[in-house]
């Protein structure tokens, strides 16, 4: 009170509290702090009122061009999808939002049952045995999956396809510097031939460019070499494509954001992490499990905690503590609202739109679809302009697409320079028309190509 508008202490309160403690001033409690370090000047501006801070943030927000402001085709791991109104109403209720890890399960059944349901729903979607309660995001889940494979196999080489999302590969490479795991990046086509001596093969399906990949073959190759198969996937794709558990994947990871979670410039999101039952004791992260109370009533607790840092410390399967439970709950609310039919419909809309759009773009002069095979709900558009220039020219027209950097490996440009076009159920006919128009115009202007 006074300067912190959320503190309830009045001056009278403070005086009474100090008297009971038996000191004159709070400073009397700070003797352990080096004198010269006490009460630093921070050089921070005075506080704002709520009304002022709201206006300030609104000003900042207006400096962005949001996905809803114009035709928008950026996607990949993080997707602009329709979020039913009931999702935030339920998932952001104060009792979920302002609780913490359910250390006292008797007064945390809301969290625990919702997370248990998330695990159950996600397990069905992926056709996997066990799902944990969440990792930070798709990237760290991928890295932790690789670490888990290393622990399980005792091998220190991880083979990852170059068609795995570049952000995941970056995080993987960064994480790998810790335990000094060797990361080998090979194209999808070479994965099956690279299993020897590897802890795991990491494949993404649909891949970063939207291409469908034969995971079964890769899983077989991995298993034949004593390696694990880790599949990176996307939740909506699993509604229409044979799921990872049916393709032979041992560990499945991915980004759960498309399940009702806002894009929010990259987080907070939801790291999906699933594995086969036999591997669960090496799984990272919290897991909710069913049990009973002393009356025999069904209830839920966090279980298998002997894997975790707070019990096992340096022997834990991961250091993760705070996770993304609220995102898991959000995903469960989303899935329960959409149901199997809604989930399929959302997925189907993206696929249908992507294919229709690709057909229109492919016939424009100088344009082609650069995927290596059938694709799902995004595809790679190759033009004579090159991806980066095309992307920048489209921004000028209010259209946002992603230029692909697949071809940049550790800074070296190795191959193509295209754009990726992601469609979802939010893509509209007008969006598609605008893109086709713009690309048609741009692809024709050869001066741009010359200027590169």
């Amino acid at each position: 009170m006074g300067n912190n508008p959320y503190s309830p202490h009045t001056e009278a309160d403070r005086a009474e509290m100090l008297a009971r403690i038996g000191v004159k001033d709070i400073d009397d409690l700070l003797a352990a702090i080096p004198k010269d370090a006490r009460h630093p000047k921070l050089d921070i501006a005075p506080g704002l009122s709520e009304m002022e801070v709201q206006a300030h943030l609104e000003r900042l927000a207006k400096m962005n061009t949001t996905a809803g402001d114009g035709p928008f085709f950026i996607g990949g791991a993080i997707q602009r999808r329709y979020i039913p109104a009931a999702v935030p109403v339920l998932a952001l209720r104060g009792e979920f939002l302002t609780a913490y890890t359910p250390y006292q399960p008797e007064v945390s059944q809301g969290t625990l049952q919702a997370v248990f349901e998330y695990q159950s729903l996600m397990a069905e979607l992926l056709a996997m045995d066990v799902v944990n309660s969440s990792m930070y995001d798709g990237g760290s889940a991928t890295a932790e999956a690789a670490f888990m494979a290393v622990r399980l196999t005792g091998r220190k080489k991880v083979v990852v396809a170059t068609e795995v999302d570049y952000t995941y590969r970056r995080t993987l490479r960064t994480y790998a510097r810790g335990p000094e795991i060797e990361i080998v990046e090979v194209p999808n086509a070479k994965l099956t031939g690279s299993a020897e001596g590897a802890a795991c093969l990491i494949v993404q399906h649909p891949d970063a460019f939207g291409t469908l990949v034969d995971v079964r073959e890769i899983a077989n190759a991995a298993h034949a070499a004593g390696a694990l198969c880790i599949q990176v996937t996307e939740p909506h794709a699993c509604a229409l494509l044979e799921p990872p558990g049916s393709l032979g994947a041992d560990i499945v990871v991915g980004e759960g954001q498309p399940l009702g979670i806002t894009m929010s410039y990259g987080g907070p999101h939801l790291g999906i992490f699933a594995c086969r039952e036999a591997l669960v004791r090496q799984m990272p992260g919290r897991i909710a499990g069913q049990t009973v109370d002393s009356n025999g009533t069904r209830g839920f607790v966090n279980t298998l905690q002997t894997r975790e840092q707070h019990i096992r410390r340096e022997k834990a399967t991961s250091n993760i503590c705070t996770n993304e439970a609220l995102a898991a709950i959000t995903a469960a609310v989303y899935m329960s609202l959409l149901g199997p039919e809604g989930l399929r419909a959302a997925a189907r809309a993206g696929v249908a739109r992507a294919h229709a759009l690709a057909k229109r773009l492919a016939v424009l002069p100088g344009c082609s679809i650069a995927n290596d095979g059938p694709f799902f709900d995004r595809f790679t558009l190759r033009t004579e302009m090159g991806g980066w220039d095309l992307r920048d020219a489209l921004i000028e027209r209010g259209i946002q697409v992603e230029a692909t950097a697949s071809s940049y490996v550790e800074g070296r440009r190795e191959g193509r320079d295209d754009v990726i076009i992601q469609c979802t159920e939010m893509t509209t006919d007008e969006d598609e028309d605008a893109l086709v128009d713009a690309v048609g115009q741009l692809a024709r202007s050869s001066d741009k190509v010359a200027a590169r």
Partner: protein
């Protein structure tokens, strides 16, 4: 209107299941659904790729879903419903305005160009500066998504730093105090380090002699929480840091307890090379039933080259972009950086809330926060001292650790007391941590609890202590008034049930198994 135990109807189980609320699957009926998203179009998917495995998700109407989650929410204890004195977690009030402004940034994709995200970058840039000022550090990475990931990031930075100096191979060990949070040794191990634990001294400080003898040319760093997990300020913090530096190692600051230091002292002035921030603690972002959080890493200039990329650059005209070529897609300028922990700016939606909080408090508000947090902890300790043993007798900072060792002897453990508190309408403190205090109860009231609430909590704790002396069995039997009685955690781990597999899992584990004839609630 809290839920009372019911027999779950229609689940098809031979015997109905008593529970507070059915599972989604138990509420589902084939053919039920809403109409949130629809399409008439068909998807062109080659047959070989099409899903043949049944998609056994529950079908529910929206009204059912709304009731289900409303019921579940009401079963939770939360900061919005009561005092949540979980030590080390800083369960302070989460301002609602922070949530509202965060929604203004919901519809922005992390792969947008810097040209369409100047608001994001301006906010993030200023946030980095605010964090640097508050911690006394020079540079900040916003990428880590929680404290533990920030620890791991920092240790990667340490590794890169030593590598740059040609000492990577040699420096294989990280030292942590025995009072350290579990994430510290876990992060060190994950980063490929061996972990050495040093003990604490009688005043709750790191034992300086033990530390010195553990230090050597094979040590990469020392991880120190200050105030430590006992809630105590490290009395010889500068000597500790000097000793570590003298051995050529680096000092990592675990900033989980930064709430105590807001405007009171800065890690950067005390000898730390870096410190992480749990914005979900110190900066009031909601804990989300377990997460999300965000764990920015603040470092001194000598560690900057190793921070994750990309970095935000501010131009003279107040425009912003990343420091890497072609946005951050071609990290030509990776240099000495460890790489990328999380694309671009980490949990930006959480960071917006933290930024808003700092702008709301301002310098004076931040200072008041640290001081009030300390005041509240000391006041509550004064109220509780008559009945409970205090682990270390010196003024704590923002939290303190009691021992229920006395009560344990009288017949009720720290666990029992924690359950009895639930019956009194309070969340329990953190129990059995830190590990070095027997029957530990770690209490952090935070600055947002009114004095009356602290007093009511103390009264409850004293009533329980009294009950332990007169009727310990009743305390061991708690909770009685929570939604459930004590849960069988041992059984849960022994025979794990980690997902729903239908009423009769022997039947192939189909969660949508239709209701059997034996209904719990027969149609009248």
């Amino acid at each position: 209107m809290t839920l009372r135990t019911q027999l779950i109807p229609d689940v098809g189980a031979k015997t109905p299941v008593p529970a507070l609320e059915p599972l989604l699957f138990e509420l589902a009926r084939p053919g039920r659904n809403g109409r949130h998203v629809r399409t008439n179009e068909t998807a062109e998917i080659p047959d070989a790729f099409q899903r043949k495995t049944p998609l056994r998700l529950p079908e529910l109407s929206e009204p059912q879903v709304v009731r289900h989650y409303t019921h579940l929410a009401q079963l939770n204890y939360s900061v919005d419903t009561g005092m949540y004195p979980l030590g080390s977690c800083t369960m302070k009030y989460n301002p609602k305005v922070n949530d509202r402004v965060a929604a203004l940034f919901a519809d922005v994709h992390p792969r947008q160009s810097y040209r369409t995200t100047q608001g994001v970058l301006a906010l993030a840039y200023e946030l980095e500066q605010l964090l640097a000022k508050i911690t006394g550090m020079d540079y900040v990475s916003l990428q880590p998504q929680a404290g533990a990931q920030s620890e791991f990031t920092a240790l990667l930075v340490f590794k890169a730093y030593h590598a740059k100096r040609g000492e990577a191979a040699q420096r294989k060990r990280i030292i942590v105090p025995d009072s350290a949070h579990g994430t510290n040794p876990a992060s060190a191990a994950m980063c490929g380090y061996e972990v050495t634990t040093v003990k604490s001294d009688a005043r709750g400080n790191v034992d300086l002699d033990a530390l010195k003898s553990a230090l050597g040319p094979d040590v990469a760093g020392f991880m120190l929480t200050n105030p430590n997990t006992l809630g105590l300020f490290e009395e010889r913090v500068r000597e500790v840091c000097d000793a570590v530096h003298a051995a050529g190692a680096l000092v990592y600051g675990d900033g989980a307890n930064m709430n105590a230091l807001l405007g009171v002292a800065r890690p950067g002035d005390l000898g730390f090379d870096c410190v992480h921030i749990n914005v979900h603690k110190t900066f009031s972002t909601p804990h989300g039933a377990g997460g999300p959080g965000a764990g920015p890493l603040c470092v001194k200039a000598h560690l900057r080259p190793f921070l994750p990329k990309p970095w935000i650059v501010r131009e003279a005209d107040s425009s912003y972009h990343y420091d890497t070529a072609r946005e951050d897609r071609a990290p030509a300028g990776l240099g000495d950086s460890i790489g990328t922990i999380k694309q671009r700016l980490g949990n930006f939606g959480v960071l917006v809330r933290a930024y808003t909080y700092m702008k709301t408090l301002g310098e004076e508000g931040l200072v008041e926060t640290g001081r009030d947090a300390i005041l509240s902890a000391n006041y509550l300790l004064a109220l509780l001292r008559p009945a409970y043993d205090v682990a270390y007798e010196r003024p704590p900072m923002h939290e303190f650790v009691l021992s229920a060792a006395k009560q344990k002897k009288q017949g009720a453990s720290a666990l029992d007391i924690s359950k009895a508190l639930l019956d009194e309408g309070f969340h329990s403190p953190t129990v059995y941590f830190p590990l070095i205090v027997p029957e530990a109860m770690m209490i952090e009231p935070t600055e947002t609890e009114p004095k009356e609430t602290l007093e009511a909590f103390a009264a409850a704790m004293l009533r329980i202590a009294e009950r332990v002396t007169t009727d310990p069995a009743s305390v061991r039997d708690a909770p009685k008034h929570a939604p459930l009685r004590r849960l069988d955690e041992v059984g849960a781990a022994r025979k794990p049930v980690l997902r729903y597999r239908g009423p009769d899992s022997s039947q192939g584990g189909n969660p949508l198994q239709p209701p059997s004839a034996a209904r719990a609630e027969p149609v009248p």
